[in-house]
Symmetry: C2
Subunit: 93 residues, 2 copies
């Protein structure tokens, strides 16, 4: 299960502003394992380059307007692909 990292960074930042370490902990909760710094910071850098997130002087990241729009599209696609996620959660009980 790869490929969801960037998407989840945007999603997390849409809920609350965070720094890199907080994002890392968030992923640890979700996946069980900590993502490597070599995973998280290049990802943040790329998102910044694309203008989807911004950083303040305290290294706190937050979504831009473009980032929110991007997340919205990604979110729509996610929900379309996994439209039956509810049944999945029943299945694995």
């Amino acid at each position: 299960m790869k490929g969801y990292l960037t998407y989840l960074i945007l999603w997390n930042l849409s809920q609350t502003r965070m720094n890199g370490a907080q994002i890392t902990r968030e992923f640890e909760k979700r996946r069980g394992t900590k993502p490597s710094p070599g995973t998280i910071y290049p990802a943040l850098k790329e998102l910044k380059t694309k203008g989807l997130i911004t950083v303040d002087n305290k290294k706190t990241y937050s979504l831009t307007i473009d980032g929110e729009n991007e997340l919205k599209s990604a979110c729509k696609l996610f929900c379309k692909i996994f439209y039956d996620a509810k049944e999945m959660s029943e299945f694995c009980k």
Copy 2:
């Protein structure tokens, strides 16, 4: 968003037995675009090699016991990673 294909093949086969063309159509519905045959058949082959699915003489694929167990674990992980999928679906409305 990559990495969910194998997982969704297992999930689809847990719902109903299917051949390669049907699986392809299922993905077209979910993603909007058809996966290439170069995507779907090697994936099926690998799952068969791993003993997670079987094929009958009509090329109809179905889950094995191992496949069902594997799916269950993958499903649990999926639900853990995307535990707030419901809020996501609200977000992108």
